[in-house]
Symmetry: C2
Subunit: 118 residues, 2 copies
């Protein structure tokens, strides 16, 4: 069965934001944005996630919001970011969010710095 994906015009900003408003799902999107061919297993490898079953919900949310393509290929699902559709509907949104995540990482690194020991 080919999973349901919204057409480009059926994508809604609230659904995209809600999909990306989860640390795990945003991490998945960062992996896909970095390029390369991915299936569920390879993404989980990159993220060092072992509990595959807990991801079923996340794949569905990402797919049904229009953030990713999830296309059956043999016994696997190939995953890819719908960047063309997202950029067409919401110019700059994805890049702004990915940059925002990098900014968070920098802020966290700065606030996590402990005074250096002697």
């Amino acid at each position: 069965m080919i999973p349901r994906h919204p057409d480009r015009d059926q994508i809604r900003i609230e659904s995209v934001l809600s999909a990306l408003g989860s640390p795990m799902r945003l991490a998945v999107v960062r992996v896909l944005d970095a390029g390369g061919e991915h299936n569920c297993g390879s993404v989980l490898n990159v993220l060092s996630v072992t509990a595959k079953s807990t991801m079923t919900h996340h794949w569905r949310v990402l797919r049904e919001s229009g953030v990713i393509w999830q296309q059956p290929s043999g016994r696997e699902n190939l995953l890819s970011l719908r960047r063309e559709d997202l950029d067409a509907r919401y110019p700059g949104l994805l890049d702004t969010i990915l940059a925002g995540k990098l900014s968070d990482v920098a802020v966290e690194a700065a606030t996590a710095r402990v005074p250096s020991g002697g």
Copy 2:
């Protein structure tokens, strides 16, 4: 009691996206972004929402994610958008999202057009 608000550096992109990934909360943000002084009641008036009690959760999510200030003033809570903080942490994010919502509204209007009768 003054409600808890995150400092600017404590704001996280996932929380902001999750807060804005709800039609009602995004509608609230659009009202606040349009300007004017607002409290909970005046926002609900603009949105024609009568069920005040169901909003308690939404105010909390918006506040704790760093999207709005909710400041006690007499018996009311004054509400305002933390645009300065959001623009500082995530340049362009809020405008991109608000523009995205307008784009959705336009797409919905276009797809809702029925053939004109004779």
